[in-house]
Symmetry: C2
Subunit: 322 residues, 2 copies
Amino acid sequence: MSITSAPTLDSYQRAAIIGGGVIGVSWAGLFLARGLDVVINDPRPDIEDLVRAGLEEITPALAALGLPTGNLTDRLGFEADLATAVAGTDVVQENGPERLELKQQIWRTVEQAAPAHALLATSTSSIPATAIADAMRQPERLIVGHPFNPPHLVPLVEVVPGTKTSPRTVQQAKDFYTALGKKPQVLRKEIPGFVANRLQSALFRECVNLVAQGVVTEQELDGIVTASIGMRWAVAGPFRTFHLGGGPGGLPHFIEHLGRAMETSMWPALGNPTFDEATTALLIDQARQAFGDGTIEELAAERDRAQIALMRALGETPDSGI
Amino acid sequence: MSITSAPTLDSYQRAAIIGGGVIGVSWAGLFLARGLDVVINDPRPDIEDLVRAGLEEITPALAALGLPTGNLTDRLGFEADLATAVAGTDVVQENGPERLELKQQIWRTVEQAAPAHALLATSTSSIPATAIADAMRQPERLIVGHPFNPPHLVPLVEVVPGTKTSPRTVQQAKDFYTALGKKPQVLRKEIPGFVANRLQSALFRECVNLVAQGVVTEQELDGIVTASIGMRWAVAGPFRTFHLGGGPGGLPHFIEHLGRAMETSMWPALGNPTFDEATTALLIDQARQAFGDGTIEELAAERDRAQIALMRALGETPDSGI
């Protein structure tokens, strides 16, 4: 590390991953590649096979990101008992089903069994930390660390404190994800869907509208996005894009003079589609045509290779950190 | 060219650019770099200086894209009389003000003065070809060729036929932009804002909402987008992204099972912001904080360098074509 004050993983040796699904495996791969010992807690009887197969699948991407992947599974363990799994860990990342009561139950156990210094984070995409922590004795310890799928590849982690989460926990989470090579962003308020998924959902609503109206097919729309706004937003977010496209007055000029025009003429014209039978059938039919060739694994691997090439070009692959 | 059937610029020697503003200059730079003779038609008395300064500014980007930029202005001319400017041209690209009557007047003159074989395209972002062509004797000849700003850099060109535009004109436009190294997409219906700007506007509405609600600042939101959905959409559009993130069932499964959930729980929760005084003040204030350092030109050049690095990494820079 060239900047001595940058966060490190020095105080992290052991991690517990609760839930060994796609997200859990992705976190596990990243944690292992970053040198942590990882224990997986998941009740499924075939969890070992699933996790090992999953890790094998993502190892090429980890290697392409410049992370060390030799003997990755030497420091991997499994523990079906939750309290035992989190005992002695420095960080707990929970990726259980999105059910409030189940998460409350998990975290009640974890807060008692995990060491007092451990970072306690949930990957939830839909349940606020406040709601989960309602059932905890130490609600100040819980925080949302919501990755954009898959966590080992996409840099963003949305760090969302609940109303009782302590500033110390917020800082701890931010430092931990930064040291992992991620780009954590702390949200200032809890809001359903957080930020990235809300934005994704807002764009997708209009995507569905345009396809349902027959303006373009799904494949054509995807091509339009990658060749314009997608490529733009990979290097400059929406506000910066308008700042640089708003003439000499930049974003202030844009907001003041074009904002109202957008509000009155564009926003009301956006669609309000519904997944009725006809729309659903059309979307499914076009999906089959667009993506019929190649398995999802093949297409995803292809996409991930392009993703990593893009990140490399922008200097955004993590250093190996070791 | 390795594929012999790929469209070429062989039948294009001379282009007329109507309107020498930012878009016109960008088109001019690209046309010149692609070997066309370009004549600019613009009534402003200082148009020559403006265009030459503009071309100088974009030349580094053209060169970085791999296009030849030596003696770029040797084949550049200016002609204030519209009919004279378009006489003898193979393509007319109009970038005049977004006023219907003015465009109708321009195109009535052009269709009479330009050769019968010339491609007639308007860069308009807001006026349908049908409305402009209403005033033309040969409405089948006019088509929208709407670039995503700036045309010399961003690949997308939305090709939007009017109700009377002939299939021949559609094909001609598609071939021309392809031969230029762009990625034209023909829309199947005229719709206000076309596709890319509608999607941009849909996303931006929620951006404004999230900042107005104090969930994130503009700068934080931009960081979230570049580190997640932006980076994703640069390599895979929204439909492909959900196809690859929807589990083994892909997009059909996503639509069928998660689509309704998005419709009922996410879309209604999206914001409906308004540019009232307080919101406008907040957005302008944050813009000043976020982008206060550096001139717009510097920031744009930095963004464009990153953009070109990204395009190179994805193999999407045009070959020199010559």
